[in-house]
């Protein structure tokens, strides 16, 4: 397990150093890739990072079975192919998979509900690691519990692999709506908020002061078009993850570029109209009925 190394000259793995990388990804697009060729397409398109995994969520959903951390050899290949940050996923609670990713020098770990959970009660103690973690959340309580465990970035869970933005919108509205309400609460009401959210009072009090999560809030789960990315950004997300939406579409490279531009120019409808043209078919997508909801994994 890693440690926070400290000397008068230099300290690695500290919270500001970990949270700092999350800050650098704001306004960007993090793309799921399953091989070095896709990673290069993502980097060419202007991705601010790639998420290395063996199967995109749409395929995990289709194949069923247990989804685990990717093969280190595959992650090595992607690290060698690109110079932008490389993220990778571990199962919820699987701290040994996280130790392995840290040993590989991955830049960011996603403790992800898209993989099959390894622990039904505990998430990873993320303070034990030199590299930063991102975790999914469906509501503010979940987000604050993950932050209290050391997560440096929160993303909506959305519903990965569906190409359907509706769940991500629900999660962003829930998280940001409750933050807006907390900023209006008086000091006595904050105790009740902490109890209701099952979250540390200190974090609830901090939000009442700042009106924002203490770490960046990104959107993930179901983004398939430039308009989806801009919707997430206008709702208040600070960057977007795109999983199956790029490499399950007809023509990934132009779609990837268009989503990068839409995320930057998210309030400019003329630019959004321009970049949305002629991209071919997006991933087909699926409705929410009769679906195994990945978002219900995690506690």
């Amino acid at each position: 397990m890693s440690t926070v190394e400290s000397s008068p000259e230099r300290a690695t793995g500290t919270y500001p150093v970990k949270r700092g990388l999350a800050e650098m990804m704001k306004g960007g697009v993090i793309m799921d890739v399953v091989n070095p060729e896709q990673a290069k397409i993502a980097e060419d398109a202007g991705a601010c990072a790639v998420m290395a995994l063996e199967r995109v969520p749409a395929d995990i959903r289709r194949d069923g079975g247990v989804a685990r951390m990717s093969d280190p050899e595959m992650i090595d290949g992607i690290q060698a192919a690109v110079s932008i940050p490389v993220m990778a996923k571990v199962r919820i609670g699987h701290f040994v998979e996280a130790q392995i990713l840290e040993a590989l020098g991955v830049d960011f770990i996603d403790e992800s509900e898209v993989l099959t959970p390894a622990d039904e009660a505990h998430h990873i103690d993320k303070y034990q690691f030199t590299i930063p973690f991102v975790c999914g959340a469906t509501n503010l309580g979940e987000a604050l519990r993950r932050i209290s465990e050391g997560a440096c970035m929160i993303r909506s869970k959305g519903e990965a692999g569906t190409g359907n933005i509706v769940e991500a919108v629900r999660h962003l509205r829930s998280i940001l709506g409750d933050i807006r309400k907390i900023t209006q609460a008086d000091s006595a009401e904050l105790f009740e908020w902490a109890k209701r959210l099952q979250a540390p009072l200190s974090l609830v009090q901090e939000i009442a002061q700042t009106g924002a999560l203490p770490v960046p809030l990104f959107c993930a789960g179901g983004i398939a078009t430039p308009a989806d990315a801009a919707l997430a950004m206008q709702l208040g997300a600070e960057a977007v993850f795109v999983g199956s939406g790029i490499f399950k579409s007809d023509d990934p490279a132009p779609r990837a570029k268009a989503i990068v531009e839409a995320t930057t120019h998210f309030r400019d409808a003329h630019i959004l109209a321009k970049v949305s043209r002629g991209l071919g078919a997006p991933m087909t997508g699926i409705g929410m009925d009769d679906l195994t909801k990945f978002a219900e994994r995690g506690w």
Partner: protein
């Protein structure tokens, strides 16, 4: 009519907002008394007294500088004497020579330094450290995130701070660069130092 630059009491500083830590720079600049504006398209450059290029992913910003049509107008404003502060990826965008960049990566070549992208290594090697900056009393606490490493400086460049013998803050003419992130710490003396130039 907009007031002209000379009559405005507070400087208007643009923050390149294509991708990265632009919000944090705005907060730092505003706490130093500047007005700020996010810059995403050409019209956002009108009337700026200075520009900040933030940290983030330099290859992403390089691509978006081209697609947004901002690259050439910014290059023109720089040659007309616009003051620019580049941090981390922003320093890469201003550097004369970028090592380990993408082949299509563009930079403004506005300061005669050569930098190596991710020169300090991956995120596991990112670090924080105290550095001494010329003309500032007391150390500045610097946060380095997958930082670029300065490998050489031309004669026109003044090095204002070093870490382990490597330049980490430098200036040349109206260009001001740092390989770390002064926007991530509450100490805004480097932003103030830049605004004095403006």
């Amino acid at each position: 009519m907009l007031p002209d630059t000379a009559s405005r009491s507070t400087p208007l500083v643009g923050v390149l907002a294509l991708q990265g830590a632009f919000n944090a720079h705005q907060i730092a600049l505003e706490s130093c008394g500047a007005e700020t504006r996010q810059v995403r398209v050409r019209a956002d450059l009108d009337g700026l007294d200075a520009l900040v290029m933030p940290g983030g992913e330099s290859t992403t910003m390089s691509r978006l500088l081209t697609t947004s049509g901002l690259f050439d107008p910014i290059a023109e404003r720089i040659s007309d004497g616009l003051a620019v502060f580049g941090t981390c990826a922003g320093m890469i965008l201003l550097a004369g020579d970028v090592l380990d960049g993408r082949p299509d990566q563009r930079s403004f070549a506005a300061i005669d330094i050569a930098v190596r992208r991710n020169g300090y290594g991956r995120q596991v090697d990112s670090f924080e450290a105290d550095i001494e900056v010329a003309s500032l009393d007391g150390p500045v606490h610097a946060v380095f995130i997958r930082a670029p490493k300065v490998v050489s400086c031309g004669p026109s460049v003044t090095v204002l701070a070093e870490h382990d013998g490597v330049p980490v803050v430098a200036k040349s003419g109206r260009m001001f660069v740092a390989s770390f992130h002064p926007e991530l710490t509450p100490d805004h003396r480097l932003h103030s130092l830049f605004l004095q130039e403006v």
